[in-house]
């Protein structure tokens, strides 16, 4: 886990870059680039005091078009379980295992999502919208009720804040500049995210840019988590020792009373 690329708080650098890009002098140099986008921070550090954050994505386009931003979390495998009533209480019965499920997902567009005249193939390829996530059953799982289980994934992920409820808004700032914010909740899944920024014009994706985002646990909490998972026995012994010593310390501190 060491040596994670730390791109860090690049906002000042990016602001300067952006300013250069927008000045007349260098316009020729970037003429080929129809879309430029970046994040205010490529690293979300989950520290002990982490309560969630808001991520700012901004950029500029050359020419006409609408901007679509798709945030994908790392892919995960998960099980969806359906409860049924057994003898009066609700019990998990049927289950389906899925793979390739993004742990986090968010879409924002500059136009009304209904007016994005992209063909279905493009929506599927870039996974624009929760209906185009390409959630696949694990091999060997019964296909029965697949859609109901897949919808349950999206619904539950929206409820815990891992999928955006509805489509976010990409706002225009003075013609060619755009910005959008993505809410990162406190319970955000860790891993490497990809943020795809697309320029859509005339019913097709004319330019795309992919930006990485790293969501890592850092500091004391990360140490605890890593120890618990990589050195489980040591962690267990440590947990017992800490508890035992804390109990002794407490009884010593209150011995007079």
């Amino acid at each position: 886990m060491t040596g994670t690329p730390r791109i860090g708080r690049a906002l000042p650098v990016v602001a300067v870059l952006l300013a250069i890009l927008l000045t007349a002098g260098s316009r020729a140099a970037v003429a080929a680039e129809r879309l430029v986008a970046d994040l205010d921070d490529h690293l979300v550090a989950i520290t002990t005091g982490f309560t969630g954050t808001e991520l700012l994505l901004f950029g500029s386009i050359q020419g006409e078009g609408e901007v679509v931003v798709v945030v994908h979390g790392p892919k995960e495998e998960l099980v969806v379980r359906r409860k049924d009533r057994v003898a009066g209480i609700w019990v998990n019965r049927e289950e389906r295992a899925f793979r390739g499920v993004p742990a986090f997902y968010h879409v924002a567009t500059s136009a009304d999502p209904g007016t994005l005249d992209l063909p279905r193939t493009a929506l599927d390829r870039h996974r624009i919208g929760v209906d185009h996530l390409n959630l696949r059953l694990q091999p060997g799982e019964p296909a029965e009720d697949r859609d109901a289980f897949a919808e349950a994934i999206v619904r539950n992920k929206i409820r815990v804040g891992h999928y955006g409820a509805g489509t976010g808004r990409v706002q225009w700032r003075g013609g060619r500049l755009f910005r959008t914010t993505v809410l990162i909740p406190a319970n955000v899944p860790v891993g490497t995210y990809t943020i795809e920024t697309l320029l859509v014009a005339d019913g097709e994706v004319v330019s795309a840019q992919t930006t990485p985002l790293f969501v890592n646990k850092e500091g004391f909490g990360a140490q605890v988590f890593r120890t618990a998972h990589n050195y489980s026995m040591l962690y267990g012994i440590g947990a017992i020792l800490i508890a035992g010593l804390a109990g002794l310390a407490a009884s010593w501190a209150f011995r007079k009373y």
């Binding site: 989950i46 520290t47 002990t48 005091g49 982490f50 309560t51 969630g52 995960e76 495998e77 998960l78 099980v79 969806v80 379980r81 359906r82 409860k83 049924d84 009066g88 209480i89 609700w90 019990v91 998990n92 289950e95 295992a97 109901a148 289980f149 349950a152 994934i153 619904r155 539950n156 992920k157 409820r159 406190a186 319970n187 646990k217 004391f220 909490g221 990360a222 605890v224 988590f225 618990a228 998972h229 489980s232 026995m233 962690y235 267990g236 012994i237 440590g238 947990a239 017992i240 800490i242 508890a243 035992g244 804390a246 109990g247 002794l248 407490a250 009884s251 501190a253 209150f254 009373y257």
Partner: protein, 309 residues
């Protein structure tokens, strides 16, 4: 002020957790109970995943039982031989319990089993306590009533083999009895995250026939080692012990217990016991209600094994 719990993987209000620890600590100070059987359900109510609540509960009990064992040990209130027999059973019970826990987790049924166990045990204990305290209140109004039967009757339990002499408890009974009691309580500590004193103490008095002065010390002795074993195995097999959460609960609990002990000395016993019984039944009712009530979404998500916790 919020703190991120590294194993539960959620952000919680630090004062809410300290408050829960303190609240349970006050109760345990007043009533002399461990409080684990209230701690785990309350943690589940505030949104801690139930496997983490159970495993962390066991870890926290290690801390809260240490000082009790020391105090009883100094006064000679621990029947070590009996304690070791209980412990033999406890190790088997808690080890088996943690493996069952892991198996239930892969089946997706652990949450249900934890909640059902609580509904059953809290229901029985709460009802018994309520009856007991109501009876005591009635008896207080009509003095002279009541009386006491024999401490324990001889029955088939005394015909079991492997008889052993327990000097400190003045008993000559089969070793299978304390081993059996210990094993049962061990399973409870693994699956429910409790010390199990609320089951073991009555069992030691009524089933084994132990004198009351050694019951508490001996049960704490067993609880300390069995919850330590449960903590170790939960950490090793399931990675569900959250030390940060355990420490917060502990700090609140230690302070609460001091307050509770002082309060308990001043307050009247019967009404208090009735109040505790009402609380136990309320927690039981809430858990049962959640199981019976149609959930907001009948579908739920779980990570497949080998993928984080």
């Amino acid at each position: 002020m919020h703190i991120y719990l590294p194993i539960a993987e959620m952000s919680v209000n630090i004062f809410a957790i300290l408050g829960i620890g303190a609240g349970i600590g006050v109760l345990s100070g007043i009533f002399g109970v461990g409080g684990g059987f209230l701690m785990t359900p309350v943690l589940i109510f505030v949104g801690i995943p139930s496997p983490v609540a159970v495993a962390t509960g066991a870890n926290q009990i290690v801390a809260s039982s240490v000082s009790g064992v020391m105090a009883h040990w100094r006064r000679g209130n621990v029947d070590v031989k009996m304690g070791l027999m209980l412990l033999v059973g406890g190790f088997f019970g808690s080890t088996g319990g943690v493996f069952v826990f892991k198996w239930l987790q892969t089946l997706g049924q652990i949450d249900l089993v934890i909640r059902l166990s609580y509904v059953i045990f809290l229901g029985i204990i709460g009802a018994l306590m309520m009856v007991e305290s109501l009876r005591a209140l009635l008896r207080a109004r009509r003095p002279g009533a009541g009386g006491r039967g024999k401490l324990h009757e001889h029955n088939w339990l005394h015909g079991l083999p492997f008889k052993m002499r327990f000097r400190r408890s003045k008993l000559y009974i089969s070793a299978l009895l304390p081993i059996g009691v210990g094993a049962f309580v061990g399973v409870l500590s693994a699956i429910m995250g409790v010390g199990g004193g609320f089951v073991m103490v009555p069992a030691m008095i009524y089933l084994l026939g132990m004198p009351t002065n050694v019951v508490i010390g001996t049960s704490l002795f067993q609880i300390l080692f069995v919850t330590a074993n449960a903590t170790f195995l939960q950490a090793t097999l399931n990675q569900t012990v959250d030390v940060v959460l355990a420490m917060l609960l502990l700090v609140g609990g230690v302070i609460g217990a001091q307050v509770g002990t002082k309060l308990g000395a001043k307050l009247r016993g019967e009404q208090l016991r009735g109040l505790l019984a009402a609380m136990v039944l309320a927690v039981c009712g809430k858990l049962l209600f959640d199981l019976v009530l149609t959930p907001d979404d009948v579908y739920s998500l779980g990570l497949t094994l080998g993928n984080g916790q």
